[in-house]
Symmetry: C2
Subunit: 395 residues, 2 copies
């Protein structure tokens, strides 16, 4: 029969998508240039020119049967090795190809990680505010997503609330730093405190607790900000990465799972990922994309635009009286709305053609997300709209 589960999911409208659709419609009416669409986390800077160069070279030179042939379920071995070498060089962690599983973006990587280290009924804990797709991802593997209330002072971890949720059933902790939607980077202190607690709890419960670290924004860190790599602090860390944001390839769906070599059963977990793929029908990412990106591991798109945008918006918004924790990276910021109901606030913003997303979608009401992955000139033009919006609240 038609699955009631998936049919029902269709009724759970994504607020982000709705706002984005509204912005698009409005764009058709008044010209897209006149809509300040801050709704979607879609990179606004092109992939490095090298992508094209390498792709064209491979298409010219490589035997099509090899270029487009089946890769191993784990991903293409040379690509896995290249990813491991790059991570090892950058972070000093002794990854080898055996610790890497190529996945369809961070979504695919997370889906594999969740299934590998949890069983249905166990808990996966994450921290508000959080990327709303975590919920269907975790539901899909049969685990329970438990949400730790936000620390709205600085968007680090609310450890008191966190410890209340930890229990025997805790299989994994899901973190996302630099963070969507806040742009906040977890400090060394936060990471140390978190991992100390987990090591203590692993002993107390007599079983492993994994950190699943969602790191698509790892490369987008602003000047002067220290972004600690969680895998260096905790052995049982499963890193989930995507090339969507760092080299602006969201549609190509490429990422990976990198299991810390010091993680218990590290290589087993990578092998298990291939079995998980069999069950979900997603075998491996496109071979051409894997082979091209293996040549771009040390590249990024021109990410400086995001920092420029953040500085402009942060300065203006704080001057207008918005309360906002200054982002350390990503292309998001998460200010407090000027009224209690952020949904109402975002509705008012639309009057000025500002498309903002209420924090309710991220499990953190009262705040709103600005996805400032747009051209800088547009950010500048949008300031007047923010001023008008603030004026409605006498700010």
């Amino acid at each position: 029969m038609i699955s009631p589960k998936y049919k029902e999911m269709l009724n759970q409208k994504s607020v982000i998508r709705e706002i984005s659709a509204y912005a698009n419609k409005r764009g058709q009416e008044i010209g897209y240039d006149n809509v300040f669409d801050y709704s979607l986390g879609n990179p606004s800077v092109p992939t490095p020119e090298k992508f094209k160069e390498v792709a064209m070279r491979l298409l010219e030179e490589k035997d099509p049967l090899t270029l487009h042939g089946y890769s191993e379920g784990h991903g293409i071995w040379e690509v896995r090795q290249a990813v491991a070498d790059s991570l090892k060089k950058r972070f000093g962690i002794p990854y080898t190809g055996d610790h890497i599983f190529m996945a369809s973006g961070a979504a695919g990587a997370l889906a594999h990680a969740f299934r590998a280290v949890s069983v249905p009924g166990e808990d996966i804990i994450t921290f508000a505010p959080f990327f709303p797709e975590y919920k269907p991802y975790v539901d899909g593997c049969g685990a329970n997503l438990k949400i730790v209330e936000a620390d709205t002072e600085n968007f680090q971890i609310n450890f008191e609330k966190f410890e209340e949720l930890l229990c025997e059933k805790t299989a994994a902790i899901l973190i996302n730093t630099p963070n969507n939607p806040t742009g906040i980077v977890y400090s060394k202190d936060t990471i140390e405190k978190l991992t100390d607690i987990l090591r203590k709890k692993e002993k107390e419960y007599g079983h492993d607790i994994y950190i699943i670290s969602d790191e698509p924004y790892r490369e987008i860190v602003f000047e002067g900000v220290d972004a600690p790599v969680v895998s260096k602090y905790y052995d049982n860390t499963i890193m989930c990465y995507s090339f969507s944001k760092s080299i602006s390839l969201p549609g190509e769906r490429l990422g990976y799972v990198a299991v810390n070599p010091n993680c218990k059963d590290a290589e087993l977990i990578v092998h298990m990922c291939t079995q998980i793929s069999r069950g979900t029908g997603h075998n491996c990412p496109a071979s051409l994309i894997q082979l091209v990106v293996a040549n771009l591991l040390e590249e990024t798109a021109d990410l400086s635009v995001y920092e420029a945008n953040m500085n402009i918006l942060y300065k203006e918004l704080t001057e207008l009286g918005f309360i906002c924790v200054k982002p350390g990276g990503t292309f998001y910021m998460f200010p407090k709305a000027l009224e209690e109901d952020a949904k109402e606030f975002c509705k008012k913003a639309l009057k000025y053609d500002l498309a903002l997303v209420p924090g309710d979608s991220f499990g953190c009401p009262g705040f709103f997300r600005i996805a400032y992955c747009v051209p800088t000139e547009k950010v500048e033009r949008s300031l007047e709209a923010f001023r008008k919006l603030a004026k409605e609240y006498n700010n």
Copy 2:
């Protein structure tokens, strides 16, 4: 905790993979040219030159932010429309883009179809011999895969056994014509008989029964063979297609779900597929690959090689006394082994550097699969090895 389910799956070794690994190892010893590796269904003819041409043109001309940008969860709209137009033109069925969901190869397409039209605990029925990955695919969605015993006379459908398995819990029938591993094409008569039974049972049980039609070999049909398109015979048909075989792109993981426009809830099923993707973490196929292949919908690789190979092997093997139903398509054939235990038979074949796969893997003991997607000159050189093997049995 480490998932016992996926850990356990690692112990279920794939016989096909083991034989292929042995053939590779042997190739390293005696030269790969001297190993007659008939183990894997990996296309042996390159993708059409047009793939390269279109890919290079898109890379040169298209804005990278569009070329590599997020596509809608259903797939890129223009690509879905192009697929629908092509299907409509070829088969006279009024598909529109709304009936198409772009998937990661046939594996991805099947994973979505199973989840859309069954709920855990329901039955999906298929026919031996069958592609062994059907088992983990169906297990992954929580349904039960029920296997109808083979009709070894002609590898059409054993209707008596089929009707015994049909029951209230039957959600869908999974068929694969042209078939892996037999190369057999279901006749019009078989399709009519099958669909008549299903329409009758739909009335009797008072619920829909879907045909999920796995069609990666649809384009590989031999001269004089009529390969009926199931969707023309049965409204509740969900076609699952892959470009892996027809245009030799197995590594690029592109396929689609095409829901018959006359299927009940056709468009709803397509929308549900996007929700299913959220749960499995596989969002959509790579955008570059989608956009290139949209230009290759009327193309095939040079598939004539497979027919040439089939003719050579069929002639020689039947002359050697093998019993074999003549394939109507694909690049497989499925002769009866010369001893009862096909596994022993395939072991003996390895002495002559012939890598064959026992039918046990496909739910049909006593037979073996030849995947003749290899160069024709190699097929010719392999005949002597088949002769020596037959001689062991005094054939």
